[in-house]
Symmetry: C2
Subunit: 211 residues, 2 copies
Protein backbone atom coordinates (compact mmCIF):
# COMPACT_ATOMS: atom_id res chain seq x y z
CA UNK A 1 0.00 0.00 0.00
CA UNK A 2 2.35 2.66 -1.24
CA UNK A 3 1.94 6.29 -0.19
CA UNK A 4 -0.45 5.38 2.59
CA UNK A 5 2.15 5.04 5.28
CA UNK A 6 1.77 8.60 6.48
CA UNK A 7 -2.00 8.57 6.46
CA UNK A 8 -4.12 6.77 8.99
CA UNK A 9 -7.50 7.89 7.82
CA UNK A 10 -9.54 10.69 6.43
CA UNK A 11 -12.09 11.81 8.97
CA UNK A 12 -15.10 14.08 9.03
CA UNK A 13 -15.34 15.94 12.30
CA UNK A 14 -18.09 17.93 13.90
CA UNK A 15 -17.11 20.36 16.62
CA UNK A 16 -19.28 22.71 18.57
CA UNK A 17 -17.50 26.02 18.25
CA UNK A 18 -18.71 29.41 19.39
CA UNK A 19 -22.19 28.02 19.81
CA UNK A 20 -22.60 26.64 16.30
CA UNK A 21 -21.69 23.26 14.94
CA UNK A 22 -18.96 23.27 12.36
CA UNK A 23 -17.99 20.46 10.04
CA UNK A 24 -14.65 19.85 8.44
CA UNK A 25 -12.62 17.09 6.89
CA UNK A 26 -9.10 16.46 8.01
CA UNK A 27 -6.48 13.82 7.58
CA UNK A 28 -4.82 12.17 10.52
CA UNK A 29 -1.10 11.99 9.89
CA UNK A 30 2.03 11.29 11.86
CA UNK A 31 4.43 13.99 12.98
CA UNK A 32 7.45 14.25 10.72
CA UNK A 33 11.08 15.29 10.46
CA UNK A 34 13.22 16.63 7.65
CA UNK A 35 16.94 17.23 7.41
CA UNK A 36 18.92 19.92 5.63
CA UNK A 37 22.07 17.95 4.71
CA UNK A 38 25.30 19.70 3.79
CA UNK A 39 28.31 17.78 2.51
CA UNK A 40 31.39 19.63 3.80
CA UNK A 41 33.77 17.51 1.70
CA UNK A 42 32.37 18.93 -1.51
CA UNK A 43 30.42 21.99 -0.30
CA UNK A 44 27.06 20.83 -1.59
CA UNK A 45 23.58 20.15 -0.28
CA UNK A 46 22.15 16.65 -0.49
CA UNK A 47 18.46 16.59 -1.35
CA UNK A 48 16.10 13.96 -2.71
CA UNK A 49 13.96 13.84 -5.77
CA UNK A 50 10.87 11.70 -5.75
CA UNK A 51 7.60 10.99 -7.48
CA UNK A 52 4.64 12.40 -5.55
CA UNK A 53 1.21 11.06 -6.55
CA UNK A 54 -0.57 14.12 -5.13
CA UNK A 55 1.58 16.46 -7.23
CA UNK A 56 1.06 14.24 -10.25
CA UNK A 57 -2.72 14.37 -9.75
CA UNK A 58 -2.59 18.18 -9.57
CA UNK A 59 -0.80 18.27 -12.90
CA UNK A 60 -3.24 15.77 -14.42
CA UNK A 61 -6.08 18.02 -13.35
CA UNK A 62 -4.33 21.11 -14.71
CA UNK A 63 -3.81 19.49 -18.12
CA UNK A 64 -6.81 17.15 -18.34
CA UNK A 65 -9.59 18.47 -16.07
CA UNK A 66 -12.03 15.98 -17.62
CA UNK A 67 -10.35 13.19 -15.64
CA UNK A 68 -11.90 14.63 -12.50
CA UNK A 69 -15.39 15.13 -13.84
CA UNK A 70 -16.67 11.90 -12.28
CA UNK A 71 -16.13 13.05 -8.73
CA UNK A 72 -18.69 10.58 -7.41
CA UNK A 73 -16.56 7.56 -8.18
CA UNK A 74 -14.58 6.63 -5.10
CA UNK A 75 -11.96 4.87 -7.19
CA UNK A 76 -10.53 6.76 -10.10
CA UNK A 77 -8.48 4.70 -12.56
CA UNK A 78 -6.09 6.63 -14.73
CA UNK A 79 -4.35 5.46 -17.85
CA UNK A 80 -1.20 7.55 -17.35
CA UNK A 81 -2.26 10.60 -19.36
CA UNK A 82 0.95 12.48 -18.44
CA UNK A 83 4.53 11.29 -17.99
CA UNK A 84 5.50 10.52 -14.39
CA UNK A 85 8.12 13.27 -14.41
CA UNK A 86 5.46 15.95 -13.91
CA UNK A 87 4.90 14.50 -10.43
CA UNK A 88 8.54 14.63 -9.35
CA UNK A 89 9.65 17.19 -6.73
CA UNK A 90 12.91 18.15 -5.04
CA UNK A 91 12.66 17.80 -1.27
CA UNK A 92 14.71 17.64 1.87
CA UNK A 93 15.40 14.14 3.15
CA UNK A 94 12.40 13.48 5.40
CA UNK A 95 10.31 10.90 7.14
CA UNK A 96 7.41 10.33 9.46
CA UNK A 97 7.68 9.72 13.19
CA UNK A 98 6.10 6.30 13.57
CA UNK A 99 8.43 4.51 15.99
CA UNK A 100 7.55 5.61 19.54
CA UNK A 101 10.81 4.28 20.98
CA UNK A 102 13.03 6.46 18.78
CA UNK A 103 13.87 10.11 19.45
CA UNK A 104 13.29 12.63 16.67
CA UNK A 105 17.07 12.73 16.13
CA UNK A 106 17.14 8.93 15.75
CA UNK A 107 14.28 9.03 13.25
CA UNK A 108 16.16 11.69 11.30
CA UNK A 109 19.37 9.62 11.44
CA UNK A 110 17.54 6.59 9.99
CA UNK A 111 16.06 8.67 7.17
CA UNK A 112 19.46 10.07 6.19
CA UNK A 113 20.82 6.53 6.00
CA UNK A 114 17.84 5.04 4.15
CA UNK A 115 17.25 7.84 1.69
CA UNK A 116 20.72 9.27 1.16
CA UNK A 117 23.15 6.53 2.27
CA UNK A 118 25.11 8.54 4.86
CA UNK A 119 25.71 7.29 8.39
CA UNK A 120 25.44 10.28 10.75
CA UNK A 121 25.46 9.94 14.56
CA UNK A 122 22.12 11.12 15.99
CA UNK A 123 24.07 13.37 18.35
CA UNK A 124 25.44 15.31 15.37
CA UNK A 125 21.97 16.47 14.35
CA UNK A 126 21.18 20.09 15.13
CA UNK A 127 17.56 21.10 15.48
CA UNK A 128 16.76 24.20 13.43
CA UNK A 129 13.14 24.59 14.56
CA UNK A 130 9.71 22.98 14.51
CA UNK A 131 6.44 24.15 13.03
CA UNK A 132 2.93 23.12 12.01
CA UNK A 133 2.68 21.77 8.52
CA UNK A 134 -0.43 21.68 6.35
CA UNK A 135 -2.60 23.47 8.92
CA UNK A 136 -5.56 23.35 6.53
CA UNK A 137 -5.83 19.57 6.49
CA UNK A 138 -3.29 17.82 8.71
CA UNK A 139 -1.76 20.17 11.28
CA UNK A 140 0.90 17.77 12.49
CA UNK A 141 4.19 18.88 13.99
CA UNK A 142 7.24 18.97 11.76
CA UNK A 143 10.79 19.26 13.07
CA UNK A 144 13.61 20.47 10.85
CA UNK A 145 17.21 19.39 11.49
CA UNK A 146 20.57 20.34 10.06
CA UNK A 147 23.27 17.73 9.46
CA UNK A 148 26.79 18.08 8.15
CA UNK A 149 28.18 15.04 6.38
CA UNK A 150 31.44 14.11 4.70
CA UNK A 151 32.16 11.74 1.84
CA UNK A 152 33.64 9.34 4.42
CA UNK A 153 30.20 8.90 6.02
CA UNK A 154 28.77 7.36 2.85
CA UNK A 155 27.94 3.73 3.62
CA UNK A 156 25.23 2.95 1.10
CA UNK A 157 23.45 4.12 -2.02
CA UNK A 158 20.37 5.51 -0.33
CA UNK A 159 17.27 5.58 -2.50
CA UNK A 160 14.73 4.70 0.16
CA UNK A 161 13.10 1.33 0.70
CA UNK A 162 12.10 -0.14 -2.65
CA UNK A 163 10.10 -2.88 -0.88
CA UNK A 164 7.90 -0.08 0.47
CA UNK A 165 7.62 1.40 -2.98
CA UNK A 166 9.94 4.35 -2.35
CA UNK A 167 11.63 5.62 -5.49
CA UNK A 168 14.10 8.21 -4.32
CA UNK A 169 16.93 9.78 -6.25
CA UNK A 170 19.72 11.48 -4.30
CA UNK A 171 20.71 14.82 -5.80
CA UNK A 172 23.59 17.13 -4.89
CA UNK A 173 23.21 20.90 -5.23
CA UNK A 174 26.51 22.81 -5.11
CA UNK A 175 26.48 25.59 -2.52
CA UNK A 176 27.30 28.23 -5.11
CA UNK A 177 24.19 27.26 -7.13
CA UNK A 178 21.87 26.90 -4.15
CA UNK A 179 20.17 30.30 -4.16
CA UNK A 180 19.54 30.13 -7.90
CA UNK A 181 18.17 26.62 -7.43
CA UNK A 182 15.96 27.63 -4.49
CA UNK A 183 14.19 30.39 -6.43
CA UNK A 184 14.05 28.70 -9.84
CA UNK A 185 10.34 28.01 -10.15
CA UNK A 186 10.84 25.68 -13.10
CA UNK A 187 12.27 23.14 -10.64
CA UNK A 188 9.30 21.98 -8.53
CA UNK A 189 10.22 21.78 -4.88
CA UNK A 190 8.89 21.85 -1.36
CA UNK A 191 9.12 24.95 0.83
CA UNK A 192 11.48 23.05 3.13
CA UNK A 193 14.22 23.10 0.48
CA UNK A 194 13.89 26.83 -0.05
CA UNK A 195 13.73 27.66 3.64
CA UNK A 196 16.63 25.32 4.43
CA UNK A 197 18.91 26.87 1.81
CA UNK A 198 18.05 30.41 2.92
CA UNK A 199 18.54 29.49 6.61
CA UNK A 200 21.98 28.08 5.72
CA UNK A 201 22.98 31.33 4.02
CA UNK A 202 22.18 33.22 7.22
CA UNK A 203 23.42 30.81 9.85
CA UNK A 204 26.12 28.55 8.45
CA UNK A 205 27.63 30.14 5.33
CA UNK A 206 29.18 33.08 7.23
CA UNK A 207 31.12 30.61 9.41
CA UNK A 208 32.41 28.38 6.60
CA UNK A 209 36.19 28.36 6.17
CA UNK A 210 37.10 30.62 3.23
CA UNK A 211 38.25 28.77 0.12
CA UNK B 1 -19.75 24.15 5.85
CA UNK B 2 -16.77 25.75 7.47
CA UNK B 3 -13.26 24.59 6.77
CA UNK B 4 -14.36 22.67 3.71
CA UNK B 5 -13.88 25.50 1.27
CA UNK B 6 -10.36 24.49 0.34
CA UNK B 7 -11.20 20.85 -0.03
CA UNK B 8 -13.15 19.40 -2.90
CA UNK B 9 -12.94 15.77 -1.97
CA UNK B 10 -10.80 13.05 -0.55
CA UNK B 11 -10.07 10.51 -3.26
CA UNK B 12 -8.54 7.07 -3.42
CA UNK B 13 -6.45 6.66 -6.54
CA UNK B 14 -5.00 3.65 -8.25
CA UNK B 15 -2.13 4.23 -10.65
CA UNK B 16 -0.15 1.72 -12.61
CA UNK B 17 3.43 2.65 -11.87
CA UNK B 18 6.56 0.76 -12.86
CA UNK B 19 4.48 -2.28 -13.72
CA UNK B 20 2.67 -2.60 -10.40
CA UNK B 21 -0.52 -1.00 -9.22
CA UNK B 22 -0.16 1.44 -6.37
CA UNK B 23 -2.91 2.85 -4.21
CA UNK B 24 -2.89 6.11 -2.34
CA UNK B 25 -5.27 8.62 -0.83
CA UNK B 26 -4.98 12.24 -1.65
CA UNK B 27 -7.00 15.38 -1.16
CA UNK B 28 -7.93 17.58 -4.03
CA UNK B 29 -7.34 21.17 -3.06
CA UNK B 30 -7.09 24.53 -4.75
CA UNK B 31 -3.84 26.31 -5.41
CA UNK B 32 -3.15 28.99 -2.84
CA UNK B 33 -1.35 32.25 -2.14
CA UNK B 34 0.13 33.80 0.97
CA UNK B 35 1.54 37.24 1.62
CA UNK B 36 4.40 38.40 3.80
CA UNK B 37 3.11 41.83 4.87
CA UNK B 38 5.43 44.50 6.23
CA UNK B 39 4.13 47.76 7.65
CA UNK B 40 6.73 50.40 6.81
CA UNK B 41 4.99 53.04 8.96
CA UNK B 42 5.76 51.12 12.13
CA UNK B 43 8.41 48.62 10.98
CA UNK B 44 6.40 45.52 11.83
CA UNK B 45 5.10 42.41 10.14
CA UNK B 46 1.36 41.81 9.93
CA UNK B 47 0.39 38.17 10.41
CA UNK B 48 -2.84 36.41 11.32
CA UNK B 49 -3.73 34.10 14.14
CA UNK B 50 -6.49 31.59 13.63
CA UNK B 51 -8.07 28.46 14.96
CA UNK B 52 -7.18 25.41 12.88
CA UNK B 53 -9.35 22.35 13.40
CA UNK B 54 -6.65 20.02 12.05
CA UNK B 55 -4.09 21.39 14.53
CA UNK B 56 -6.67 21.15 17.31
CA UNK B 57 -7.34 17.50 16.45
CA UNK B 58 -3.61 16.76 16.57
CA UNK B 59 -3.43 18.19 20.06
CA UNK B 60 -6.55 16.31 21.12
CA UNK B 61 -4.90 13.12 19.96
CA UNK B 62 -1.65 13.97 21.71
CA UNK B 63 -3.42 14.58 25.01
CA UNK B 64 -6.41 12.22 24.75
CA UNK B 65 -5.55 9.39 22.34
CA UNK B 66 -8.67 7.50 23.45
CA UNK B 67 -10.79 9.93 21.42
CA UNK B 68 -9.44 8.33 18.27
CA UNK B 69 -9.90 4.73 19.29
CA UNK B 70 -13.15 4.38 17.37
CA UNK B 71 -11.54 4.90 14.01
CA UNK B 72 -14.36 3.11 12.22
CA UNK B 73 -16.88 5.82 12.94
CA UNK B 74 -17.04 8.20 10.06
CA UNK B 75 -18.39 10.97 12.22
CA UNK B 76 -16.53 11.71 15.41
CA UNK B 77 -18.31 14.00 17.88
CA UNK B 78 -16.11 15.68 20.42
CA UNK B 79 -17.16 17.36 23.62
CA UNK B 80 -14.36 19.95 23.61
CA UNK B 81 -11.85 18.08 25.74
CA UNK B 82 -9.21 20.79 25.29
CA UNK B 83 -9.48 24.59 25.09
CA UNK B 84 -9.68 25.98 21.56
CA UNK B 85 -6.43 27.88 22.06
CA UNK B 86 -4.38 24.72 21.49
CA UNK B 87 -5.58 24.79 17.87
CA UNK B 88 -4.53 28.37 17.18
CA UNK B 89 -1.53 29.07 14.91
CA UNK B 90 0.29 32.15 13.65
CA UNK B 91 0.26 32.29 9.85
CA UNK B 92 0.88 34.56 6.92
CA UNK B 93 -2.24 36.14 5.46
CA UNK B 94 -3.30 33.56 2.88
CA UNK B 95 -6.09 32.27 0.72
CA UNK B 96 -7.09 29.78 -1.91
CA UNK B 97 -7.23 30.45 -5.62
CA UNK B 98 -10.86 29.74 -6.44
CA UNK B 99 -11.82 32.61 -8.74
CA UNK B 100 -10.62 31.77 -12.24
CA UNK B 101 -11.04 35.35 -13.48
CA UNK B 102 -8.64 36.83 -10.90
CA UNK B 103 -4.85 36.86 -11.20
CA UNK B 104 -2.82 35.50 -8.30
CA UNK B 105 -1.94 39.09 -7.37
CA UNK B 106 -5.64 40.01 -7.29
CA UNK B 107 -6.45 37.02 -5.09
CA UNK B 108 -3.62 38.07 -2.75
CA UNK B 109 -4.88 41.67 -2.72
CA UNK B 110 -8.39 40.48 -1.71
CA UNK B 111 -7.00 38.35 1.10
CA UNK B 112 -4.98 41.24 2.52
CA UNK B 113 -8.12 43.37 2.58
CA UNK B 114 -10.42 40.68 4.00
CA UNK B 115 -8.08 39.27 6.61
CA UNK B 116 -5.96 42.27 7.58
CA UNK B 117 -7.97 45.32 6.48
CA UNK B 118 -5.32 46.98 4.27
CA UNK B 119 -6.03 48.11 0.73
CA UNK B 120 -2.98 47.36 -1.41
CA UNK B 121 -2.92 47.75 -5.21
CA UNK B 122 -2.37 44.35 -6.86
CA UNK B 123 0.48 45.89 -8.83
CA UNK B 124 2.37 46.55 -5.58
CA UNK B 125 2.60 42.84 -4.81
CA UNK B 126 6.02 41.32 -5.39
CA UNK B 127 6.21 37.58 -6.01
CA UNK B 128 8.84 35.93 -3.82
CA UNK B 129 8.55 32.43 -5.27
CA UNK B 130 6.21 29.46 -5.69
CA UNK B 131 6.47 25.90 -4.47
CA UNK B 132 4.57 22.67 -3.89
CA UNK B 133 2.86 22.46 -0.55
CA UNK B 134 1.89 19.29 1.27
CA UNK B 135 3.37 16.98 -1.33
CA UNK B 136 2.36 13.94 0.72
CA UNK B 137 -1.37 14.58 0.46
CA UNK B 138 -2.28 17.60 -1.64
CA UNK B 139 0.58 18.74 -3.87
CA UNK B 140 -1.01 21.97 -4.99
CA UNK B 141 0.93 25.01 -6.05
CA UNK B 142 1.49 27.78 -3.52
CA UNK B 143 2.69 31.26 -4.45
CA UNK B 144 4.27 33.53 -1.86
CA UNK B 145 4.09 37.32 -2.23
CA UNK B 146 5.64 40.26 -0.41
CA UNK B 147 3.63 43.43 0.25
CA UNK B 148 4.63 46.65 1.92
CA UNK B 149 1.83 48.57 3.59
CA UNK B 150 1.48 51.81 5.50
CA UNK B 151 -0.95 52.84 8.22
CA UNK B 152 -2.66 55.02 5.59
CA UNK B 153 -3.73 51.92 3.66
CA UNK B 154 -5.85 50.64 6.53
CA UNK B 155 -9.48 50.73 5.40
CA UNK B 156 -11.08 48.09 7.58
CA UNK B 157 -10.68 45.86 10.58
CA UNK B 158 -9.84 42.68 8.73
CA UNK B 159 -10.68 39.48 10.57
CA UNK B 160 -11.85 37.42 7.62
CA UNK B 161 -15.41 36.65 6.64
CA UNK B 162 -17.41 35.76 9.75
CA UNK B 163 -20.29 34.58 7.57
CA UNK B 164 -17.95 31.91 6.23
CA UNK B 165 -16.90 31.05 9.75
CA UNK B 166 -13.49 32.67 9.59
CA UNK B 167 -12.19 33.79 12.99
CA UNK B 168 -9.00 35.66 12.27
CA UNK B 169 -7.05 37.90 14.60
CA UNK B 170 -4.59 40.36 13.07
CA UNK B 171 -1.27 40.42 14.92
CA UNK B 172 1.71 42.75 14.48
CA UNK B 173 5.24 41.47 15.07
CA UNK B 174 7.86 44.24 15.41
CA UNK B 175 10.79 43.78 13.05
CA UNK B 176 13.28 43.76 15.90
CA UNK B 177 11.47 40.82 17.53
CA UNK B 178 10.88 38.90 14.32
CA UNK B 179 13.78 36.43 14.42
CA UNK B 180 13.12 35.58 18.06
CA UNK B 181 9.44 35.10 17.19
CA UNK B 182 10.22 32.95 14.14
CA UNK B 183 12.31 30.45 16.10
CA UNK B 184 10.30 30.44 19.33
CA UNK B 185 8.78 26.97 19.22
CA UNK B 186 6.34 27.76 22.01
CA UNK B 187 4.44 29.94 19.53
CA UNK B 188 2.87 27.50 17.05
CA UNK B 189 3.23 28.72 13.50
CA UNK B 190 3.35 27.70 9.89
CA UNK B 191 6.62 27.36 7.98
CA UNK B 192 5.54 30.26 5.78
CA UNK B 193 5.94 32.71 8.67
CA UNK B 194 9.44 31.48 9.48
CA UNK B 195 10.55 31.42 5.85
CA UNK B 196 9.02 34.83 5.18
CA UNK B 197 10.77 36.49 8.12
CA UNK B 198 14.13 34.91 7.21
CA UNK B 199 13.70 35.89 3.55
CA UNK B 200 13.01 39.47 4.65
CA UNK B 201 16.23 39.55 6.69
CA UNK B 202 18.20 38.60 3.58
CA UNK B 203 16.39 40.55 0.92
CA UNK B 204 14.66 43.60 2.40
CA UNK B 205 16.24 44.45 5.75
CA UNK B 206 19.63 45.42 4.24
CA UNK B 207 17.87 48.03 2.07
CA UNK B 208 15.73 49.58 4.80
CA UNK B 209 16.52 53.20 5.60
CA UNK B 210 18.58 53.31 8.80
CA UNK B 211 16.76 54.62 11.86
Amino acid sequence: MLFLDCLDFCIRNILSFNGTKKVWDCMRTHDSVSILIFNTSRQCFVVVKQFRPAVYMCEVERHCPQVFQNQDKENCHLEDPLPAVVGVTYELCAGIVDKPDLSLEEVAREEILEECGYCVPATDLRKITSYRSGVGVTGSRHTLFYAEITDQMKTGKGGGQPEEGELIEVVEIPLEDSMKFAFDESLPKTPGVIFGFVWFQNNIAPKLPKK
